[in-house]
């Protein structure tokens, strides 16, 4: 289950759906909007998705994780729209019998999702500038040249 959400993500409700007495381990990743990036104060973020392909590619990644690791269940949701500081941008949760598989799969999913799923992030800075992350070229905000991780 890979979803794009225009509403606040509710990890509690999502997590509840993964409850399963066959699972002994659950690893969840949350990506939060933080107040700075590479030293620049950030006021808010916008995420935009090419939704049909984002869901397809995200679902492929979840299925790859199921193929590579011994899992019970996987789920991921990515938020789109204008997000305030502290809001949840992306949530990935993986359950497995054993924790090693849950950790490895959760990390695989978020790493692949960040690299492959067509979702874009625009940062709004305190100085009024905005930048589409990873899309900088000459003339853009200097601080955005380097690829960044959450």
């Amino acid at each position: 289950m890979f979803r794009i959400s225009t509403e606040l993500i509710d990890p509690v409700a999502l997590q509840r759906e993964l409850a399963d007495v066959q699972a002994g381990a659950c690893v969840a990743f949350e990506g939060w909007v933080r107040n700075r990036n590479d030293g620049h104060p950030v006021l808010s973020l916008e995420y935009e998705a090419y939704a049909p392909l984002a869901v397809k590619e995200g679902t492929r990644i979840l299925n790859e994780a199921r193929g590579k690791f011994a899992l019970v269940a996987v789920a991921a949701v990515h938020r789109v729209g204008h997000l305030k500081l502290g809001e949840l941008a992306v949530w990935v949760s993986v359950t497995a019998e054993h924790r090693g598989a849950a950790f490895d799969a959760c990390r695989y999913i978020i790493d692949e999702a960040k690299a492959r799923v067509p979702i874009w992030k625009k940062e709004h800075y305190a100085d009024g500038a905005t930048v589409w992350i990873n899309c900088a070229s000459r003339g853009d905000h200097a601080g955005a040249q380097a690829p960044r991780q959450v």
């Binding site: 090419y50 589409w132 990873n134």
Partner: protein, 80 residues
């Protein structure tokens, strides 16, 4: 000439000033079409930093374009 629909997201949407358009082109591959549009609209990203999707599936930069295709150019992604 083939007729295509083009969708724009993120930095390309802003630089183009719209989300979708229909056009006729002599370009036969995504790369050729992107270079044509980049020259016309001043997109800052070079073709080698943009992927393409046709009809909601990733395609190679030199995949053939067919009349009626819907194409999306995908700037470097940054989810999460």
């Amino acid at each position: 000439m083939i007729h295509l629909a083009v969708q724009y997201f993120a930095i390309l949407r802003e630089q183009r000033g719209l989300s979708e358009e229909k056009l006729a082109t002599a370009a036969t591959t995504p790369t050729a079409l992107y270079d044509e549009l980049r020259a016309r609209h001043g997109f800052t990203l070079p073709a080698d930093r943009v992927r393409a999707a046709v009809n909601d599936e990733f395609v190679a930069a030199d995949a053939p374009l067919r009349d009626g295709d819907r194409i999306v150019f995908i700037p470097p992604v940054a989810g999460g």
